[in-house]
Assembly symmetry: D2
Homo-oligomer: 136 residues x 4
């Protein structure tokens, strides 16, 4: 299951080196994951009802090619694996066929006090069903 999000790059995305600032890709990755969750019907509204949040526990990101002002980028998000309390995403940002970044992102399920907890069963069911290597 892959989710796509397109986005245009503006001045505020770039730095004086003339390229997209490296931290900003993590914003695009957040946007991509949010759209992936929403496409499955388990977006932030659902989290609120379940009393949980998914927070980022780990990011591993490769910067392959620089993005630039006025680029249109595509954020591709795949859920790779589901753990008891964690979700593993594989994500890419591309401009046409050029890969700008590749990232592995681990989300952890926490309660309102940011304490780790199991992913609620109904959310987990949906995730596992959509994820090829979904079984724990």
């Amino acid at each position: 299951m892959e989710s796509y999000l397109e986005k245009k790059i503006y001045y505020h995305d770039t730095d004086c080196g003339g390229v997209i600032y490296y931290a900003n890709y993590l914003k695009y990755l957040e946007e991509g994951r949010t759209e992936a969750f929403s496409a499955l019907g388990i977006g932030p509204q659902k989290w609120l009802e379940a009393g949980i949040i998914f927070v980022v526990a780990h990011v591993d990101i490769d910067y392959k090619s620089p993005g630039r002002y006025a680029d249109t980028i595509k954020i591709i998000s795949r859920i790779e694996k589901i753990g008891r309390t964690t979700i593993y995403f594989n994500q890419e940002v591309k401009r046409d066929q050029v890969i700008l970044v590749q990232a592995n992102v681990v989300l952890a399920c926490v309660d309102k006090n940011l304490k780790p907890r199991s992913i609620p069963e109904d959310i987990k069911k949906i995730l596992v069903a959509k994820c090829p290597s979904g079984r724990v």
Copy 2:
């Protein structure tokens, strides 16, 4: 009463036009006002106790000269006037003697639900005492 804050400019402050991105000055102005409040002993901790927040209601900002990567800037914050529910700040950002921006910022006192309310008396007293044109 003037408050000063020094700050160094890094890549993330700039854009691909080679200068400080115009929205980022509002971050520096926030930092300057927070330090001004803290210097008077009425910083965010005090707001929390009083059940209020000061939110920005209006900004009027002149961009006079571009700031650049590796600049050291100084944020100068003056409280100009106190209303029943509002505080008027006059702020400048300078690099040495060069004025980068000049801004007038109006803060509004709101409760936890973001509804307008009077500035608490003990906070108002401190503000009026420090502000030359302080009386409403």
Copy 3:
């Protein structure tokens, strides 16, 4: 002539006060102006060819109502007046019929060294034609 841009609000747009951070609206306004220029065929590519940039000289912004996580906002951009070296924009950010911010933004035409210069005639012609109060 009005230009519209829709945008979704994500975590990175907000602050711990629970609302959209006040400086971020200036990013949305930049995006709205860029789309307004592009719709007229005088976007950044055209600036590059003409050897100019439009930089922000002044912003006057009223914060009317707080925006929040997961909101879809609309940025409305109108060119109000054209000067010899300046363009006056009137812009709004709305969520449905609720106005979040209203802003007046003045852009100045500068050359590559950020020195003020007249708006190139071909760009000015297009702007004046589209702007009701366009004549200087």
Copy 4:
């Protein structure tokens, strides 16, 4: 050789989850590395003279504990290894003794056209001298 940078957290650093937004740590890490380079006399001014830039090629970051509004954080930066074209940093962000994030960051030396090139000899000499495992 360790470099330290202290920094205060303001509203613009946080998100509506009530904690420091995860992408913003990459800004602090940038600031920390810049100070590390400057302390060695090989800061951005030196890069400019040498016709090079160090760009981020890879980041591996663990989010251990949430940072919050009004925290004072410390960024600790260590150069771990020097390659022909790369520098390996190990960095931490702490609040008192609490580790907020731990990161491994790889920088690549590129020329003005962002093409990879060897680290200039004079810069490399300084780096290797200061780096315990400095030899390639």
